[in-house]
């Protein structure tokens, strides 16, 4: 083996060694960075949606609906201090749903999502206004998006008896879909225990915008003309 070849091999070996050491350091730095970001997210979540306490809080066994399988929800009985006021009670439940899944695999709503506002109209329609991460961080897909909506709807309908319907907004705005697939332009029917819909049998029904959930009367095969492009339904991409 020539001297030059030995020299080249030596340089190559040193370069590989330096690369391996650098890669290891970089990998550890990335991991630390990820941990830091995760801690920051948790801290931000605490600032955005601090635990809510009210004078009427009573510790009860709430049913929180988290994922039991990738396509299945199951209620988890959780002792929570819940307010007698429906709005505060709903906020407390949504906070628990986001902040306290028993395991990461059971999470249905992104950890960074925050409930910005919650209102109940006189007719029992709940309006839940979430921060952008609900849309931007929910994994795109029919199943994952429907699971997010269902976990929210079922948690609310099983613990706040006065709610009848649910409208989901993102940062104060109606959006076409949650993350590219599931329709958020309508209003979801809620069925508190004791009402007709069987618990766990089907997702909350979605009423078309501007209508009730009652199916229309039989009509012609062809629907009326599509809404104008200015309408929300003209939006096609998330």
């Amino acid at each position: 083996m020539s001297r030059n070849l030995k020299l080249a091999l030596g340089i190559l070996a040193v370069a590989v060694l330096i690369g391996a050491v650098s890669f290891g350091k970089m990998h550890r730095r990335m991991a630390r960075l990820g941990e830091t970001q995760s801690s920051e997210n948790r801290a931000r979540q605490e600032v955005l949606t601090p635990p809510i306490t009210t004078p009427t809080d009573t510790v009860v066994k709430a049913k929180i609906f988290w994922a039991a399988a990738p396509d299945q929800l199951a209620p988890v009985e959780t002792e929570l201090p819940l307010s007698a006021d429906p709005v505060q009670r709903a906020r407390q439940l949504v906070h628990a749903l986001i902040a306290s899944p028993p395991t990461p695999a059971q999470r249905t709503i992104p950890a960074d999502a925050a409930l910005l506002g919650f209102y109940i109209l006189p007719d029992g329609t709940a309006v839940a206004d979430f921060s952008d991460p609900l849309a931007s961080e929910t994994p795109s897909g029919i199943m994952s998006e429907q699971m997010a909506v269902n976990s929210l709807a079922r948690t609310l309908e099983n613990n706040v008896a006065t709610l009848r319907r649910l409208k989901i907004l993102i940062h104060g705005q109606e959006v076409d879909t949650l993350s590219g697939n599931v329709d958020l332009t309508g209003i979801f029917d809620l069925h508190p225990p004791g009402q007709p819909a069987a618990l766990g049998a089907a997702p909350p029904a979605l009423s078309a915008p501007g209508t009730s959930a009652t199916p229309p009367s039989p009509a012609a095969k062809l629907p009326a003309a599509p809404p104008s492009p200015a309408g929300s339904s003209a939006r096609t991409s998330h």
Partner: protein, 210 residues
Amino acid sequence: MIVLDPAHGGADPGARGEGLLEKDIVLEMARTVRAELERQGYRVVMTRNDDSNPSYDERAAMANAYRDSIFITLHISSTGQPGTARAYFDQAAAAAPPAPGAATPNVASPAPPPGLLPWDQAQQTESDASRKLADAIQAHLAQLFPGSAGAAAPAAVRGLRSVAAPAAAIEIASVSVPKPESLTALAAPLATALVRGIAAFRAVDPNGAK
């Protein structure tokens, strides 16, 4: 007429994996499915055949323009057990009637003229047929995609809402597969499941697509 809808497209990639975009995979799969359906004698039209992104209304209008059409929208998920598949029907089909006295806050919209159907509610008149279609397809997906659920599921799929024809969404898991070819290899069993599922649907609904 079978209207095949590769979901997303253009600036909307859909689910994203390592070097994988839902919009590209579903387009490739739709082409395979189309070829198989045509081999079986069906007439097939695709809502897009390139990297364009027709609006939901434009996609629905393609199905609504034909008599006796069937609308199938193809999706790939971000999550779920890789290699499984699920058929969905519009969730209005699963809706229980509103409880007596339940509030209906937005009923102020004027009723459409007789004989017309609100565009946003077009799918509701096809609820039963869509559920049968999705169930028929899911029965065959369950056979060809091990680990898949045995029954179709209701969901508020945006792309189904305005379709005035039997319609189903098919979602395959997922863009998180380690090798892209393991996803594209699912196009053939998907085509088989759809051919068999549509045939089974037509057997119970003779008015289904020709």
